[in-house]
């Protein structure tokens, strides 16, 4: 067996280790071991590559590699240690961006040094197929990069989080797509490009960077979980395209798995919002309805029952079962620690406490679970929507903190509602429903929540963290 065969087998082993690293996430107990297998897989893949190219490791080249790893690894380690858990969505967004950028640069490098990648024939030319593969890794990498940067900036609040509508955006995106396809075809058949000359590939990269921006900027707010998952998926497809260029098993397998993972998460998120993936990606949701929803909210002057922290504490203390429903508002107010303290106090009083998580609560898949884990809420007190919905009937209090649309009964029984058909947490079945909100404003979807005006609903109008802290004091 030649060195190249052995290395191909080692890449295959690392691909299997990556599969096990994701498999480990099927339960919190096996997840950390899984992560370790992933690290071993990565060391194996990188080590195998260094072994393959060992003859070309002159001091300068070694410096380039070591420098890249030290700088990048250092930055990554610091970020990973310092980032607060509430910042995870933008952190993942930024990692997506860097993954896209890495594929983009590696694809460009393959174009300029095809010999090193074994991509040239006897006459020193690249095949059209190699050029197409390269341009795909450059294109997808570029879209992933600029799209993820926009998404991360939106999540970080650096630019407005809502949808930003560009004029004729569908036409614009379609036009960009057609031009990109045209450029790839030109690149593939151009004798100049086959000899590694010209700037067509750079042009593809530049236009794809624009496409990433125009694609993501009209999508906003609560659609973000879908966008983040979708870009996660893209970073995988970009890696897979690079894997085809290199005929590397590890890259092809990882690319396909990461691509599938992001796609599945997008699907789960869309299903939980009862929306079609295409209509989410088309963007603009919330922008068109906000005006009408706001006006509708203005004329609604039905009475609501507004409670104080003391009222809430009294009811909570005297219940036997409380289900807490956290939403994005809890993340914004950083109320998870106060919430955990409240839960502990209630448990001391003999109250049964459980948490109910809607799949799209927060700004990325699993966002609420991480925040509650950070506050040291045991994961066996936290339930998914389908597992806990039937239990609201037995609960005395449903304690909704920073969530709105995911509890809207209109989704179940009002066919006129824009969110009709979306699966929701049936908090209204509990004896009392408490809402911590800053105002009576409608939720992200611009839909009034009928529940606010019901008799057994108590509104606690305040900042989520402050209100929970006051309730803890009153308990």
């Amino acid at each position: 067996m030649s060195a190249i065969d052995i290395s191909a087998l080692l890449y295959l082993v690392s691909a299997v280790l990556f599969i096990f690293s994701i498999r480990g996430l099927s339960s919190p107990e096996t997840a950390r071991n899984g992560n370790m297998l992933g690290i071993i897989g990565m060391v194996l893949a990188a080590g195998t590559t260094v072994f393959l190219v060992r003859e070309h490791l002159d001091p300068t080249t070694f410096g380039l590699i070591a420098g890249g790893i030290i700088i990048g690894g250092g930055v990554g380690s610091v970020l990973a240690q310092k980032a607060p858990m509430t910042a995870m969505p933008q952190m993942v967004g930024m990692f997506n961006a860097l993954g896209g950028m890495a594929s983009l640069l590696a694809g460009l490098a393959a174009f300029y040094a095809p010999a090193a990648f074994g991509l040239i024939d006897a006459e020193g030319l690249m095949s059209p197929r190699s050029l197409v593969e390269m341009s795909l890794s450059v294109l997808i990498g570029a879209v992933t990069f600029s799209g993820s940067v926009i998404a991360a900036l939106k999540l970080n609040g650096s630019i407005p989080g809502g949808p930003i509508i560009l004029p004729a955006r569908h036409l614009l995106n379609l036009l960009i797509l057609l031009v990109l396809i045209g450029l790839i075809v030109m690149l593939a058949i151009s004798p100049d490009a086959q000899a590694g000359n010209g700037y067509l590939l750079v042009g593809i990269a530049a236009l794809a960077l624009v496409a990433g921006i125009t694609l993501v900027i009209p999508i906003g707010g609560a659609d973000m979980p879908v966008v983040i998952s979708m870009l996660n998926s893209y970073s995988g497809w970009a890696a897979a395209a690079l894997g085809f260029t290199l005929s590397n098993f590890a890259l092809i397998v990882v690319g396909a798995i990461v691509g599938a993972s992001g796609a599945i998460l997008s699907y789960i998120m869309c299903k939980a919002m009862n929306r079609f993936f295409v209509s989410v990606i088309a963007g603009g949701f919330g922008a068109d309805d906000a005006a009408t929803g706001g006006a509708g909210g203005g004329v609604d002057d039905r009475p609501v029952k507004i409670g104080s922290a003391e009222d809430a504490a009294f009811i909570l203390k005297n219940s036997s079962k409380v289900i807490i429903v956290p939403g994005y508002g809890m993340a914004v107010a950083q109320a998870q620690h106060a919430l955990k303290e409240m839960g502990d106090k209630l448990k001391e009083e003999g109250v049964e406490v459980a948490y109910a998580i809607h799949p799209v609560a927060g700004r990325m898949p699993g966002h609420m679970n991480v925040l509650l884990a950070e506050a040291q809420v045991p994961y066996d007190e936290i339930f998914e929507m389908d597992d806990i919905n039937s239990q609201f009937k037995q609960a005395d209090v449903a304690f909704v903190i920073g969530a709105n649309d995911v509890t809207n009964p209109g989704a179940k029984d009002d066919p006129q509602s824009p969110i009709y058909g979306m699966p929701v947490l049936e908090v209204w079945n509990a004896g009392t429903t408490m809402f911590i909100k800053r105002s009576l404003a409608s939720g992200y979807a611009g839909v009034q929540n009928e529940l606010f005006y019901r008799d057994n609903t108590m509104m606690l109008l305040s900042d989520a963290k402050k209100m929970v802290e006051n309730i803890v004091k009153a308990l």
């Binding site: 994701i22 890249g68 798995i257 699993g366 991480v370």
Partner: protein, 141 residues
């Protein structure tokens, strides 16, 4: 989530097609076919493995996929080690140097993902705790 019979049929066909071609003549199978086969089979594996991930761990799933997609570092290292030895054409030498620097930058970006992704995943996973029942009993007593 049950896999349909068609799904399995497609899978089997995908596995067998290259073999069938290989057996059918003395021509070699285009290696591209094998790459496509691996890619599609891996996507199926991804599909089942990811559906098995508990929703509570969807955020760590995303950060660990960030980390493992840093495996593009493989391509970046190859780019950085492109050799100018034996090249006399200054134009080609320049292009190879451009590729080496692009490779180095790509290594840096991929490394942020690898180190950052695995570390932050580990940090998150360390927080997931089960209810401590024995400790509680001790408290009560």
């Amino acid at each position: 989530m049950s896999i349909s019979r068609t799904g399995w049929a497609v899978l089997a066909a995908l596995c067998l097609t290259p073999a069938a071609f290989a057996a059918s003549g003395n021509e070699q199978v285009d290696p591209m076919i094998f790459r496509i086969a691996i890619f599609i089979l891996a996507a199926f594996i991804g599909y089942y493995v990811v559906w098995a991930v508990t929703p509570a761990l969807h955020t760590p799933l995303m950060s660990v996929t960030n980390a493992i997609s840093g495996v593009v570092i493989v391509g970046a290292i190859i780019a950085a080690t492109a050799s100018v030895l034996g090249e006399s054409n200054p134009e080609i030498v320049n292009k190879i140097w451009a590729a080496k620097w692009l490779g180095a930058a790509s290594i840096a970006f991929a490394s942020v993902n690898i180190f950052g992704g695995f570390l932050v995943t580990n940090r998150m996973l360390a927080m997931y705790k089960k209810k401590e029942r024995p400790a509680k009993k001790a408290d009560a007593a």
